[in-house]
């Protein structure tokens, strides 16, 4: 078992519009990209963020950037009452615990 954080060059989160939160994992090494992407599933993400699996909207493998993109339903519309992160830029830390 290895941590994704040890092989990913970029682990980031950001709004994709005010109603979605998107995560990018980017790799510099094709082998790492190929190994990791097979292991990232909606159920793993749902478990990590403690959200229903249906809230994991999309997992896309983007070959040109050796990237895996994960998009989830934002906990609330950006800036709505209870907001903690208007830009969604600091929601990525649990991905540091992803293993493969």
């Amino acid at each position: 078992m290895r941590y994704v954080r040890d092989v990913a060059a970029v682990i980031r989160s950001k709004n994709a519009g005010p109603f979605e939160l998107t995560f990018d994992l980017m790799f510099t090494d094709r082998q790492a990209y190929d190994e990791v992407r097979k292991n990232i599933t909606p159920s793993k993400i749902a478990e990590l963020y403690r959200i229903p699996v249906d809230d994991v909207l999309k997992i896309v493998h983007f070959e040109p950037a050796l990237a895996v993109k994960i998009t989830i339903v934002r906990p609330r519309a950006s800036g709505a009452l209870g907001e903690t992160d208007v830009y969604g830029a600091q929601q990525h830390a649990p991905l540091f615990e992803l293993t493969y």
């Binding site: 109603f19 510099t28 403690r50 959200i51 909207l57 950037a65 339903v73 934002r74 830390a93």
Partner: protein, 450 residues
């Protein structure tokens, strides 16, 4: 014409750029200077309030350089999403700055101002006809949400920009626009491939963010040719790489292969990225696929109330151990004390525990100190001040089990401890709407200074 060059000075008008990079860009003889003026990223306040999230003096600094360069070379300057959110007050705010610069520098320019505010009656009619749809995971559009919206805008595509350019605009100052549109308009007008033009625009709208090291306040140049485009940085410290450019396509999007926009979709499934010498990147293969129905994205924000916040720290280990029950106790005291005021929102954020991620936080374990932000949103500023202030004073002197520090529970960094944060808004419209005419709902006005 085999190549059209588009100069993007900065990621957002007002974020600034080094003059040296800008001059380097001008030496490449651009055919147009285009800049994005806004974003929904800073949240609903700006669209709702009509205020810009960029500062006037910073915007004026950028605009002065852009206007001077464009007029001197007789090339158009195109500004999308003026004033940050692109509703009428934002556009007028930006126009006032343009006007001031033209007057101060004694320059003349024909400015086309294009508005993106959508009449509510149009949207209500479209709802009745079933021609609106949610854009993302949210509810269907309701007449109430439309009525509530303080400002309601639609993202324009390239068509209104092209109309302004064809009529001879020196400066196009546009309301809410699809980010790539300001950059792609002149190339598409001159017959270049819309897929490549829009993809290039999508990268240029963030300027040097797509380079390594990335920067939102440095310039980037795009050279669009017949079957590809090339991106080049204008500062010796930055380079574009195939990965940095490809990666940028991921930015703030949910699916990098299929990017929907006004009137059609950008399809990147066959896109190729190739590194060229001197930190340049060549891109080709992107296609624009028109959708059968022309749709635009609507954005609207409504008023929610007024906010007051109080900021404090806690260092006492006995208190930190029981922080959840203490805050619950304070909330009950507030409720009890103001039982006639039930319609307010009161929240305690605990930084050092789960302040950043809230319910998504997998490890809500407090550290040795906590930052607490007490927040109240209520119908009036006075009620928000009252509830926030009462919660703050109650927490300051709250007696919890085992308490040893009986002089006070909170460390306040400021006096006054509470801040009236003003009006609060929320996004209430983020939907797609069909259009019968892609230009019709974006009225254009000419403004000429003699």
């Amino acid at each position: 014409m085999d190549e059209i060059r588009v100069l993007s000075p900065t990621a957002i008008l007002g974020y600034g750029f080094p003059v040296a990079s800008f001059e380097e860009g001008l030496r490449r003889e651009p055919h147009v200077i285009a800049v994005d003026g806004g974003s929904t990223d800073p949240g609903p306040y700006y669209l709702g309030s009509g205020n810009s999230f960029t500062q006037r003096q910073a915007v004026k600094r950028d605009l002065k350089l852009l206007i001077g360069a464009a007029l001197e070379r007789n090339i158009p300057l195109i500004i999308g999403t003026a004033g940050g959110s692109g509703a009428r007050p934002h556009v007028e705010w930006a126009w006032e700055i343009v006007q001031e610069i033209l007057t101060e520098t004694r320059q003349k320019a024909a400015t086309a101002v294009v508005f993106s505010d959508v009449p509510k009656a149009v949207v209500l009619d479209m709802i009745r006809q079933g021609r609106t749809a949610p854009c993302g995971p949210l509810e269907e559009l309701t007449p109430e949400a439309v009525e509530d919206a303080v400002h309601l805008v639609a993202q324009m595509g390239v068509e209104p920009f092209i109309a302004a350019l064809e009529e001879g605009a020196d400066i196009v100052l546009a309301g809410r626009a699809y980010d790539p549109a300001a950059f792609a308009a002149l190339p598409i007008m001159r017959g270049f491939d819309p897929g490549l033009a829009l993809h290039m625009g999508k990268i240029l709208e963030c300027a040097a963010i797509a380079a390594v090291p990335g920067s939102g306040s440095d310039c980037l140049l795009g050279r669009l040719q017949r079957d590809s485009f090339i991106l080049e940085t204008l500062s010796p410290v930055r380079q574009c790489t195939p990965i940095s450019v490809a990666a940028h396509t991921l930015y703030e999007k949910s699916d990098p292969y299929v990017l929907p926009g006004p009137g059609g979709t950008l399809d990147l499934r066959s896109t190729q990225f190739e590194g060229l010498p001197e930190g340049r990147v060549k891109v080709w293969g992107t296609k624009f696929v028109p959708t059968p129905k022309f749709t635009v994205k609507l954005e609207g924000a409504r008023a929610v109330g007024f906010r007051t916040v109080s900021i404090a720290g806690v260092r006492d280990p006995i208190m930190i151990e029981q922080i959840d029950s203490i805050l619950e106790g304070v909330r009950e005291r507030v409720q009890d004390n103001f039982d006639e005021l039930q319609d307010y929102f009161l929240q305690f954020r605990c930084y050092g525990k789960n302040g950043v991620m809230g319910d998504l936080e997998p490890t809500p374990n407090p550290g040795h100190e906590l930052g607490i932000v007490i927040e109240c949103v209520a119908e009036t500023q006075e009620i928000a001040n009252t509830i926030c202030g009462f919660a703050r004073s109650t927490l300051l002197h709250y007696g919890y089990p085992g308490r040893k520090s009986t002089a006070g529970n909170l460390a306040f960094p400021y006096s006054p401890s509470d801040f009236s944060a003003g009006a609060v808004f929320e996004f209430c419209v983020h939907h797609l709407m069909e259009l019968d005419d892609s230009k019709g709902i974006f009225p254009m006005e000419w403004r000429v200074i003699e």
